[in-house]
Structures are given as structure tokens and as C-alpha cells.
């Protein structure tokens, strides 16, 4: 039986090669998307699956309730929470406290390398299943100066030398002795570290003010992570009420951060961390669940379309086989046997498509890994044997569901009806279902295309937009802790450099400072964004003054005295005109008096997702993190070469980080570029699927009507008449589908454009363009078949009938 199914399906495929190709291509392309999602999901669910008793390990998360309403969930929690749990509650078998700020430079033997890691309790090595290749896990982190390295970090710092017992200097934290080296981790983990230093070092560091107040500070819920391993058979409700009790006891009467009203704590199981819900301060490198969901939904929509297509084409094709079904039934087949045959063929087909889609997958994989957002996460799209099992299961499921409808329908035929050729009437009733499927597909395609056009145009608009400043021929270089004066001196002499300025942040990105400001000492202060910059930075960017002038040359580096504000800030301070503001005193940080020396024209200092707001420039060299180099047009490559040479000499530890200013501005929209890429690909798939589906349906229908066409032509119909006749009903379907799509794409387009304060105004035009594109593609598809049918020589088809 199986062999017979196999043979008939292959022969059927070969009998209609074009039809089979259409079918297989459409299915394979969309299946490849499904395969990719399976691959991603499978990979993302391998985080932290190697810890013993993982079901008893939890992270304590913080829910900060804001004064102005709402709340925010943090993966971190106060360090002291861990201490409290450990000392006061018996349900905790073990507690791991982590202070996450061991970031910076590590020096050994006069060589400095940047590292990142944690301070953690010795129990870290006990609770989590990170094995040591060298060193004793039960003592390695006991001493305050103990540190354990990953093999990569050991290699980075020590090369091939044995690191055990050697001292590393962590800049700002002092000397640590290497007491252990980790084995390579048995799998992925949400922890992100190269070094683990003993938390016993923290008390001294806190005393020395090397770290901010942490150990007993209930208000610092940003820098610590607390993990708790519960005893067996502990009721989670008990822990919950304990956490509530802790919150009540320790925050009563305490002065909280101004934006917070209260804190609540909750447990997150270790195996639900990655992938998990979006949390602030999460150090996990797994894709958030919401992204997985988004991708899955997209894949599902596409698979649904392809599956419907497959079903649709199967029905169309199978109608040619009703005679065969009749014969089989007369030969003694029962309904179930015929059903099995068709389901079998469908599954067989899906398996063939799986093979093709696997080829597509290889291309898709690399495209996916090139997306910007994937760089932030740990994603390995490795294939193993289990994966292939999932793939095959996936194909089986697709084949089964796609074949269900045609198989169920076709196996129900009564043989006598089939053999008597009275089927014509019955089959036409199914057209309604198939037609609605077509309409849905064209609606979806049109929506996807219109949305892509909208996103594309908006991104184009953003990246070309005039920010009101000169952002061309400006190179941004991160200072990375280097002395800015020294660098400026070195760089000044490079050919092509016009002027070097400094600032805290680059304009046009989402990064900036903010501070409290007020006009008079007695006024209530308000928060305003500001940049710390020098006069060169401002003149590099060619920022226009409406009143006053740039910072006075030779200002004191220690004592701030001047401020420049923009037009938007005028009203906040109660100035009626720019001129009025010049020379006036303002207060910053409660007590610092600054005099306004200039008022600049409003310009975009944040991404265009935001309205232009009030702004101040202040001269505070201690906050400088960025060098802004204005250079001669065309000298960029030479400049960069010279720059990196000098940089290597001045700072051998950190690689040079430089970008064109406009590129940094446009990088703010990189997330949207990903969305564009993903939806672009989906819309490509969807229109292909819709057109292939349409093609199949038109082919089938015109074949059925060849005799009618011939008769009409003999009776005097022209090619045009016949083409119109054959195409008309399909054109209606396309038109209907596309029209339904118009309001939907308008809504979705608006949903996207809502993100931006400044946006394109011609959205309806783009929707019309989407309509035209989809309509044209549909039209071409339909006419390619109908014109051919209309051109056929009638004598030929009548003769062969």
C-alpha cells in the first residue's frame, strides 16, 4: 500500500511538472521560514539546561512601582535581599548574590585587556553547574581576593601560561589572585561573564568607595542579582509571603528614589529566564519571548497561506482524478483507503518540499544572522539529529493538514456519479471556498506590500532628514577614558582635520544627560536634557545662534559658569524673546548658577521619534566622552588610517571606536531596518504564494474551459473577447482582495508611523501603490494563462476532444 502511494504520488508529480513545481516552490519557500523558526526556538530553549536541581533555583526579581503610576520589572534586586533571605529564612537552601559591575580593564604583567564579569558569592560554584578545570570549587571564591576565569579570559590575559596563583589587577578594584579556571560551559547560559571575583571583596571596596553603596542599600536594585535555591518540598506560597514581608519591613519609612513609590519582589524560575519575559537590567543574551512569538506568528501566517494554497491546488488538481477515485472504489477501495492514498500523497509531497526548503533554509539562516538585532543575542543555528526529527515531524504535520480537506472531500465521491460524468455541478460548489482563499491571500499580500512601502519610505525619510545641523564630514571618536587634551594635540596635526571638538554624547542619538533646572532659586525645578560640549563641538556642527554667542574661549575647566539653551527652552524659563535671555542667570542642580551666553535655533538632537524639546549645552570637560572631528571632504580614508595609527600608540588596550556622525544618527533607526527586512521578506513570500496559487487556479480553470473557448472562437469570438471572458472572474477576486487590504494597511501603516514625531505625509499614496503593484502582479499572472488559452487554435482542441 505504501509503495503504491509512493509510486502514484511521484508519477502524479511528474505528469504535471509545472503544477508540481508551483506547488512545491510555494510550499518549500514558506516551509523554510518555519524551519528557521524551529531552529531558532530550539536553540533558544537550550539556555541553562545543565544545572542540577534547576527546578528549585529561582532568581529574585524586583517590581518597581512608579510614583506617576505604572511599574517596571527588573531582573536585578537589592544585594541585601540575598543576605536577608540567607540569614532569616529556612526555605533557602542556598543563596547566590551577584554584583554585576566588574567591568573594565584587567592588568597582568603590564598588559591590559578589557574584561567583564561579576562579583559573586562562593555558593555560585555550588548552585550552578559551572565546573572548574583548575582549582578547587569549594574554596576558590572564599578569599576576598579570589577570582575564577573562563578559559577565554585566561587565554586573553595569560596567553598559554598557567594562570593559577597569579595576581591580576582590576582597574579600580585592586589585585586578585587566580584561584580557578572554568571548564568550557556545557551549554548556553543566561549569565554573561568572563571573570567571577569573590563577593567577599565587596565590603572593603565599598568602604574605599570603589563601588557605590551596595551591601546594605535597599534602594540599589540595579546592580545586584539574587538567586535562591529552595529546599525540597518548599511551598512557593511561603516564599512569596516572605518576600512580601521583607518588602514591608525594609521599605517602611525609608526614603525611596523620587520616581518610585514601592517595591515588590517575585521569583523567576531559572529555566524560565532564557527565553523569558522582557525585564529591565536583564543580562540574558537569549531572544525575548516576545520576539520568538512575533517570528512564530509571522511564520504561521505564511505557512497558513502556503498550506491553503497547497490545499487549493490539490483540490484543483485532484478534480482531474475523480475518475481514478471512481475506478478505485469500484475495484473495492473503501473511503478510508482512498483517504489514506490522498493524505499519503500530500505528506509525500510535503516531504519532498521539505528537502527543497532545507536548501532555502541555508540561505535564510545567514540572512537572519545578519540582522542587526540578532547581534545582541546569543544565537547558534546549529543543526543536530534531533532537529531533523523535528523537521520531518513538521513536514508530516503540514502534509497532513494540507491534505485533509482534499482527501476528505475526494474520498467521499460515489463511484457511480464519477463514472457517469455528472460531476460538473458538484465541483463548482467548492469554488466558493477556493475563491475566498484567493481573496484572503491577495488581501494579505497587498497589506504586506503596502506596509513595506510605508516602512521603507519612512526610513528613507529619516535617514535623509535634515536635523538642522551640519552632520556631514564629522567623525565621532569615543574617548574611552583617555585624556582628551592629549588626544586632541596628537590628532590636530593629521592632514585633513579642520577642527576638533568634544562633547558628552553625539547629537541625534538617544543618549544624553539631563539635569534639574530653574530660573530663580525659589522656583520649582524641572528636568531638561543637556549636552556637555565645548565651543568647537558647537561650531563643528554649525549650530545657528538666534541670539548671543558660543562659549567664551578659556573657560575654567573646574567651575562651570556659562550655558547655551535652545528656543524651546526659552518659554520654560519664562523668557519672552531670545535677546532677553542673554546674560540672565539660571540654576542647575539646585545651587549651580550659570549665565546664558547664547540661544540656538531648535534642531533635532534626538531621533525623529521624538518631538524637539528644550535643551542646554554646558561646558563641563569632566563629562566629555566623545571627540567630534570636522574634516576636509574626501579625506576620510586617509584620516582614519592616520587616526588608528596614533590611537594604537596612545591607547593599546581599547580598539579605536569611530563612526561618521550621520551614520550614528541613522543607527538610531536600525531596529526599524530589521523590521523592514523581515516584513520585506515576508511580503515577498506572500505575493509569490498568492501569485502561484492564482496561477494554479487559472491554469486549472482554463484547461477545463478549452473546449468552450474553442467553440466560442469558432463562433467568432476574438482573442480579446476570450481573454476577458476567462480572466474576468479572477480579476474580481484580485480586486476584491486588494480593496479589503486598503483599510487594513492604512491601520497598520499608522500603527507604525505612530512611533515617529516626524513622518511622511503621503501614506495613502503608498497604499495606492501597494494596490497597483499587487494588482499588476495578479493581472500578469492571470493573463499569462488566459491569453495563451485564447490564442490556441480551436481546430486543434476540438479535434482532440
Amino acid at each position: 500500500m505504501l509503495k503504491s502511494i509512493f509510486l502514484t504520488s511521484i508519477r502524479n508529480m511528474l505528469r504535471n511538472p509545472l503544477f508540481s513545481f508551483i506547488n512545491m516552490f510555494g510550499l518549500a519557500v514558506s516551509m523554510s521560514l518555519g524551519l528557521l523558526i524551529i531552529l531558532i526556538i530550539k536553540d533558544q530553549y537550550t539556555f541553562d539546561n545543565f544545572h542540577k536541581d534547576a527546578e528549585r533555583i529561582f532568581r529574585v526579581n524586583t517590581k518597581a512601582i512608579r510614583t506617576e503610576g505604572g511599574s517596571e520589572n527588573y531582573a536585578s534586586s537589592p544585594f541585601v535581599m540575598g543576605t536577608t533571605l540567607k540569614e532569616g529564612y529556612s526555605f533557602a537552601e542556598n543563596v547566590v548574590r551577584i554584583y554585576s559591575q566588574l567591568n573594565g580593564d584587567a592588568e597582568y604583567n603590564k598588559v591590559t585587556v578589557p574584561v567583564h564579569g561579576y562579583f559573586a558569592d562562593p555558593s555560585f560554584l555550588e548552585v550552578f553547574n559551572f565546573k572548574l578545570e583548575k582549582g578547587n570549587p569549594s574554596t576558590a571564591l572564599n578569599d576576598p581576593d579570589g577570582v575564577v576565569l573562563t578559559t577565554d579570559a585566561a587565554k586573553k590575559i595569560f596567553g598559554n601560561a598557567d594562570p593559577m596563583g597569579k595576581a591580576i589587577n582590576f582597574k579600580g578594584f585592586g589585585n586578585f589572585i587566580v584561584r580557578g579556571v572554568f571548564e568550557n560551559f556545557p551549554g548556553k547560559t543566561h549569565f554573561n561573564f568572563e571573570v567571577i571575583a569573590s563577593s567577599n571583596a565587596l565590603p572593603l571596596l565599598e568602604k574605599q568607595k570603589a563601588i557605590s553603596e551596595t551591601l546594605q542599600n535597599w534602594n540599589n536594585y540595579y546592580t545586584g542579582y539574587v538567586y535562591v535555591k529552595l529546599r525540597k518540598d518548599v511551598n512557593l506560597r511561603e516564599v512569596k509571603s516572605a518576600l512580601a514581608e521583607i518588602s514591608r519591613k525594609n521599605y517602611a519609612g525609608r526614603k525611596l528614589e523620587t520616581r518610585d513609590k514601592a517595591y515588590e519582589f517575585f521569583l523567576q524560575p531559572l529555566n524560565k529566564i532564557s527565553p523569558g519575559p522582557l525585564l529591565s537590567n536583564d543580562n540574558s543574551r537569549a531572544l525575548p519571548e516576545i520576539v520568538l512569538l512575533f517570528l512564530s506568528v509571522l511564520a504561521f501566517v505564511i505557512l497558513l497561506m502556503a498550506g491553503l494554497n497547497f490545499t487549493n491546488l490539490m483540490i484543483a488538481k485532484s478534480l482531474k482524478r475523480v475518475r481514478e477515485i471512481g475506478v478505485r472504489k469500484v475495484m473495492g477501495a473503501n473511503r478510508w483507503q482512498v483517504f489514506k492514498q490522498f493524505i499519503g500523497e500530500s505528506i509525500m509531497f510535503a516531504l519532498f518540499s521539505l528537502f527543497v526548503s532545507y536548501l532555502f533554509l541555508q540561505f535564510l539562516k545567514s540572512a537572519f544572522l545578519k540582522l542587526q538585532f540578532t547581534q545582541e543575542f546569543s544565537i547558534d543555528l546549529r543543526e543536530d539529529s534531533w532537529l531533523y526529527v523535528y523537521f520531518i515531524l513538521f513536514a508530516l504535520v503540514i502534509g497532513f493538514f494540507a491534505g485533509l480537506l482534499p482527501a476528505g472531500y475526494l474520498s467521499g465521491f460515489k463511484p457511480v456519479l464519477v463514472l457517469k460524468d455528472t460531476l460538473g455541478k458538484k465541483t463548482s460548489s467548492r469554488q466558493l471556498l477556493r475563491k475566498s482563499l484567493m481573496v484572503v491571500q491577495f488581501t494579505l499580500s497587498m497589506v504586506f506590500i503596502a506596509v513595506v512601502l510605508i516602512i521603507f519610505s519612512q526610513l528613507k525619510y529619516l535617514t535623509k532628514a535634515d536635523y538642522g545641523i551640519n552632520d556631514k564630514n564629522i567623525l565621532n571618536v569615543r574617548l574611552q577614558g583617555n585624556d582628551y587634551n592629549k588626544l586632541a594635540l596628537e590628532f590636530q596635526s593629521i592632514a585633513g582635520v579642520k577642527q576638533i571638538g568634544f562633547a558628552s554624547h553625539s547629537l541625534g542619538t538617544s543618549h544624553d544627560y539631563s539635569d534639574d533646572y530653574k530660573r530663580k532659586a525659589t522656583d520649582a525645578s524641572f528636568v531638561m536634557r543637556d549636552f556637555r560640549a565645548d565651543a568647537n563641538f558647537i561650531s563643528n556642527l554649525n549650530i545657528q545662534f538666534v541670539a548671543g554667542k558660543n562659549f567664551t574661549p578659556g573657560l575654567s575647566k573646574e567651575h562651570e559658569s556659562e550655558v547655551i539653551i535652545n528656543e524651546k527652552a526659552l518659554t520654560l524659563f519664562g523668557f519672552k524673546s531670545p535677546g532677553e535671555a542673554i546674560g540672565q542667570q539660571l540654576y542647575a542642580q539646585d545651587s549651580l548658577t550659570l549665565s546664558v551666553v547664547g540661544v540656538v535655533k531648535d534642531f533635532h538632537f534626538r531621533p525623529m521619534t521624538y518631538e524637539i524639546g528644550p535643551l542646554a549645552f554646558r561646558y563641563r570637560p569632566t563629562d566629555f566622552q566623545l571627540m567630534s572631528i570636522a574634516f576636509q571632504p574626501g579625506s576620510k580614508d586617509k584620516l582614519l588610517a592616520a587616526l588608528s595609527l596614533i590611537w594604537k600608540k596612545t591607547d593599546p588596550v581599547h580598539p579605536l571606536q569611530s563612526n561618521l556622525m550621520r551614520e550614528e544618527i541613522n543607527d538610531a533607526y536600525i531596529g526599524f531596518t530589521d523590521v523592514l527586512n523581515i516584513i520585506g521578506y515576508i511580503s515577498f513570500l506572500s505575493i509569490i504564494i498568492a501569485c502561484l496559487g492564482m496561477l494554479g487556479m487559472v491554469m486549472y480553470n482554463t484547461q477545463l474551459r478549452t473546449k468552450e473557448v474553442s467553440v466560442r472562437k469558432v463562433l467568432g469570438a476574438s482573442v480579446k473577447d476570450v481573454t476577458v471572458l476567462l480572466s474576468r472572474s479572477f480579476m474580481w477576486l484580485i480586486a476584491f482582495g486588494v480593496l479589503v487590504g486598503m483599510p487594513i494597511s492604512y491601520l497598520l501603516g499608522n500603527l507604525f508611523l505612530q512611533n515617529f514625531a516626524y513622518k511622511i505625509s503621503y501614506e495613502p499614496l503608498l497604499i495606492v501603490a501597494g494596490v497597483i503593484i499587487t494588482g499588476m502582479l495578479g493581472l500578469i499572472t492571470v493573463c499569462s494563462q488566459t491569453i495563451r488559452a485564447a490564442l490556441l487554435n480551436p481546430s486543434k482542441s476540438l479535434r482532440t476532444e
Partner: protein
């Protein structure tokens, strides 16, 4: 073997009731070779389909090998004809995607016969009809006569007691037709009961009895 008593079959078109079969009484004994004749639209094929249990009737009794067909459920009915009846069609109705061998084998697949046994049975049949050399060809590669030969072989593979043939020679030239009729005669001599629908007096003469139909009624 077959007892038809007062069989009526009709269709309603608007207020009119058109009778396809009217008061048919017919009994067929095992080993008979019957030809049903009559002009187009007289109900020959309908009668054959009713006998073959492919079509239902509205009134009357039908006993087949002492089973009351009119009382059986669909499933039992198909079980019955699967076991006892073979069909031959005017248009051969071979399955285009299957080879000669596979076409003949198909009914056995549906009776869950073991592979080795199937092979033996199909080989016998190919041998008997002298089409061993054509077993791997597809229907489109055969002449009409050869296709009908395969059709007959397929109908006989499950060793039916009754062979129903609807104008088996209708699409064949006279020589091919004669061959098929001779084959039928031979089969009949071996004990297979045959009922055929035919237009030709010559073909009818191969049979042992002729039933004339006109407007759904048997003419005496």
C-alpha cells in the same frame, strides 16, 4: 444467484417523476451469460449499476447469493461486491498513473492480500492474457484492445463469481471486439456468470439469454 423483484428507480424533475427502471423482475442463475439490449436511454446501464450495487433503487427487492441487498448497509454492500463482482467498462477506466501490472494488482491491495500472494496472482493473470511483455507499460502506451484486455484481467483478478460489462467492445474495432467476446465465452465456460450491456446483436449472440429493455421495462 440474483433475484430482482419489482425494482423501481426514478428521478423527480419538478412535478414529474421519470422512471429509469420500472417493475423489473429478473432472476439470474450461476453460470449464465446474459446480454442486456435496448436503445439508448432505455435503462441498460442503470440496471447494470443496480445489479453491481453501484447505484441504488427506490423500490423493490434484490437478493444476491441469498443476501437481501436492499437491507444491507453501504459498507456491507461494498464488501459484498468487492468479493463477488468484477466490472468491465466501455472506456476501460484504467488508472493512467499505474502500469499494467499495478492496475491489475490494485483490487488485491484493497483486499489486504499479502505481497507474495499478489505477485503470484498477477503473474497468473498476465500469463493467461498473454500480456506478460506489457506489464511495465502504462495504459497510454497500449492499443484500445489491449487496454480492455487489461481491464478484463483487472476485473477477474479477485476471482469474482459475477462479471458485469458495460458495452465492453463499444470503443473497439470489430477484430478486437471479437477477441474480447471470445474471452468472455471462455470465462463463461469456466463458470463465471456474465452480464453484459450491448448494442450489437452479434455480441449478444455469444450469451445464453437476451433481455430487452425499453423505457426502463423488460420487454417480453
Amino acid at each position: 444467484m440474483i433475484e430482482l423483484k419489482g425494482i423501481y428507480k426514478w428521478v423527480n424533475t419538478g412535478n414529474n417523476r421519470t422512471f429509469l427502471l420500472k417493475d423489473i423482475h429478473l432472476s439470474v442463475k450461476e453460470g449464465e451469460f446474459i446480454s442486456i439490449m435496448g436503445p439508448s436511454g432505455s435503462g441498460k446501464s442503470t440496471l447494470l449499476n443496480v445489479i453491481g450495487m453501484l447505484d441504488e433503487f427506490n423500490e423493490g427487492e434484490y437478493n444476491f447469493l441469498h443476501e437481501s441487498v436492499h437491507k444491507l448497509k453501504e459498507k456491507q454492500r461494498s464488501g459484498l461486491y468487492k468479493q463477488y463482482i468484477g466490472f468491465v467498462f466501455q472506456a476501460y477506466h484504467l488508472i493512467d498513473e499505474l502500469t499494467v501490472y499495478e492496475n491489475i494488482e490494485t483490487p488485491l491491495l484493497y483486499q489486504n492480500i499479502k505481497s507474495s500472494e499478489r505477485q503470484a496472482m498477477v503473474a497468473d493473470m498476465l500469463d493467461r492474457f498473454n500480456i506478460v511483455g506489457k506489464k511495465n507499460l502504462f495504459p497510454a502506451q497500449l492499443s484500445g484492445g489491449q487496454q480492455q484486455l487489461v481491464g478484463v484481467a483487472r476485473a477477474l483478478i479477485a476471482k469474482p463469481k459475477l462479471l458485469l460489462a458495460d458495452e465492453p467492445t463499444g470503443n473497439l474495432n470489430s477484430k478486437q471486439g471479437e477477441e474480447i467476446m471470445n474471452l468472455f465465452k471462455e470465462l463463461n465456460n469456466e463458470g463465471v456468470t456474465i452480464i453484459q450491456v450491448t448494442h450489437s446483436d452479434k455480441n449478444a449472440s455469444y450469451g445464453s439469454r437476451i433481455i430487452n429493455l425499453l423505457d426502463g421495462m423488460i420487454q417480453k
